[in-house]
Amino acid sequence: MTTTILKIVTRNLLFYLTFGLLLLIISTFVIWPILKVVSFAQLENFSELFTNSRWSQAAIHSLMMTMISTLSCTFVAFIFAYTIARLEIPCKGLFKFITILPIVSPPFIVGMSYILLFGRQGIISKQLLNLNVDVYGWHGLWLVQTITFFPYAYAVIYGVLKKSSPSQEYAAYNMGSTHWQVFKNIVLPLSKPGIAGGALIAAMSILADFGNPMVIGGNSTVLSTEAYMQMIGWFDLSSAAILSTTLLIPALGLFLLNRQWVGKQSYTTVTGKESYSSHYPIPSYIKWTLFSFCMFITVIVLLVYGVLFYGAFTTTWGYNWSLTFSNLDYVFSKGKELTNSIQFAVLSSILAGVLAFPLAFIVQRKKMGMNRFLDFLSVLPGAVPGVFLGLGFAIAFNAEPLMLTGTAMIMVIALTIWNVPTFYSTLLAGLQQISSSLEEASQNLGANNLKTFRHILLPLLKGPFISGMVVTFLRSVTCLSVIVFIYSAKTSVGTVSILGLVSNGEWGKASSFTVVLISIAFAVLGISQLFFRNKRNANDY
């Protein structure tokens, strides 16, 4: 018995070594930082959450904001998804474009534009209406979060709507139902999983968001920004830990709910096939109402980007509207931050792939009991709010044996870990599409494991690999929350500079910095799209 076990172990030595190494890496860079933060927050200090009015305010704000913004996000997202998936309307391309914009933009961009439009020096509030109102606060944040995060919910809802065939709708019409009945009895119930999944994704993102509340929250902080204030303003690590842990609990709850309820059905593939089928004509007044609604949102989003571009070339926002290139000059004088952004993003996208591939491979291909656990670990960093992860890194690696504070390494590792879940999910979905009989066929024809990997798996996973790398790159370049606790003077990046400029009210420079970041992101996205178009798409198989 022991000899057979020994035999099995030696034969799969490489595999067990990989497995052990992965566990070690995840424990060190995911579990350890989480435990560090949680244990840093002493239990008795949690009572302060109720006694300290600032903190309880922040907690309530976080929850309220998440709730109302999730509702509005899901509402907007559903209308977008329904209109695009089910209606015959013009401008579909434009609407779809709008929904991918936030993914290539820094998360605080809508907040910034909002201030450029409605702030004290806002082009609408001051220039057009000549008002002097306080727009900072929860109303503004609500609007901003809705615009920022509805595309996340949209992606999920659209995926589900697109997958469900309209034949049931036809059947219902055929039996004499009215449009409203069909909508209420067929469309809505069928999109329920999509709506639930989309709402959960939106809620997780809103709850964890740091950028927008930082930019426009004003005096009403949320948990993530309050934690940041405690840490940066008062170097109060313990308070920051308590606030972050408080944030972690609902975040984990949403995450678990998402896994339990929505499960794995809502993978949206990158190279999805579009199936064309004509849909039952909806009365034109409904159609055009929905269209107008989408157009209205679209105009707002375009305004967000337009005003940012305008700001990038304006001398002094609110006072001197003359055009200038000096802001851009300033950005390039801060070349260090830009190159840091790009370098860290490139490195972390490679590393995340290196880490995500064996994880996805073992979970998908090796049947060995630990799979569910490993799967859970792989997506766990996605459940942890960025601020929490950053704080965890700051605490955990500020001492021997792993003294990483201030290094470029800690930045790269944090970004890598933060992106592993998305990369992993992309590869997992890719692997699921490749029947394991292909690998067996390859072995059957004489290829050992390594050759099979090289000649079969790698070429077939090219698509998921590239999209995983692109997404990781984009998320890293535009990331703020994770790194805000761990950057140093030498390792500062673009988004940190922008935050600094915003808090100093240097809107021109902040906008042009943002514009440059977005341009880089778009360039990368464009190149990858070209690549996708040129290559034979093996994943259609």
Binding site: K7, R11, S435, S437, L438, E440, A441, S442, Q443, N444, L445, G446, A447, N448, K451, T452, H455, I456, P459, L460, R536, A538, D540, Y541
Partner: protein, 364 residues
Amino acid sequence: MNTEEIIIKIENLSKTFGNYLAIDNISLDIPKGSFLTFLGPSGCGKTTLLRLIAGFYEPDDGNIYFEEKKINELPAYKRDTPLVFQEYALFPHLNVFENIAYGLKLKKTPKKEIQDRVDSMLKMFGLIGMENRYPKELSGGQQQRVAFARALVMGKNVLLMDEPLSNLDAKMRVEVRDELRALQKRFGFTAIFVTHDQDEALSISDQIAVFNKGQICQVGTPMDIYFKPKTKFVADFVGTTNFVEGKVIELNDPFIMVKCNDTIIRVPQKDYAVKMCDEVTLVIRPECISISAEVDIQRNRSNGVKGNIVKSSFLGRTIRYWVGAGSMQWIVDDFNPKISGPLEGQITLTLDQSKVHLIKKRLK
């Protein structure tokens, strides 16, 4: 068969998945150059045994020998047992030529030779002009040919096939299976073929191994399997059968007389080890019974049964009758139906005694 060279020997092989015993202590000798078919209902372990031979699973117990070498732990890529997958498993990112050449390239075959060997495969399978197409640009039948070519091009002594014809339409199935048999005879490789289609198994094989619940119930030639099934399961799975329960009442060499209800059926003695009073089951195929409208047969005319037609169904070449006789119902095929229409009412069945087969009841 014993004097023939055995290429694959399977010895007391077992394989479990979790608690489920998928292969239950199977032993089997596969003669070199033979065409062996694994036949059995879905989920009985055919694929599992094939994959054990190909090396995708490791046995829990027992041994597999290939040309007298034990290969239990030999990894799949060293086994030289090309397999035609049920779902083809063509590499979607490689074109037809590259798919077929894949194994040869791995073996570092010279370019010229690869070209020649692949070309001859393309010719043989009628794939000329499709070299540069990708699998998804081929029809099901073409894909299936590429799958065959990819395995055959390796020129090995063994070819494993897991229901390779199941995705083809009925006509094509027959064509390809005849082609396949011809190929196998021409090249002389040992073929192991999995199917759950009994017609396919009977028409193509030298030997058939009938599976049930992870065990092999019987190995034999198609004729043996069809006419001399060892168990009720085999008889029932291969073709339609009338089972008649009875009791041996007389051993009258060369016949065994069996009393079934109120009829006495005469069974030719073919080494059946039966004693007086043994409980037996007779296996009588529907086409081994003739049906006639005359009702008044002589009392002692052997193997005649009187009955009533319950229903009939016209199938083109045949008419199938369901005939009630006493407490039992017979299925009878008439291969020469009269143009005037099916028979009705009272009839007489005559059993072709040379084809009546006897199965001894297992003592439980």
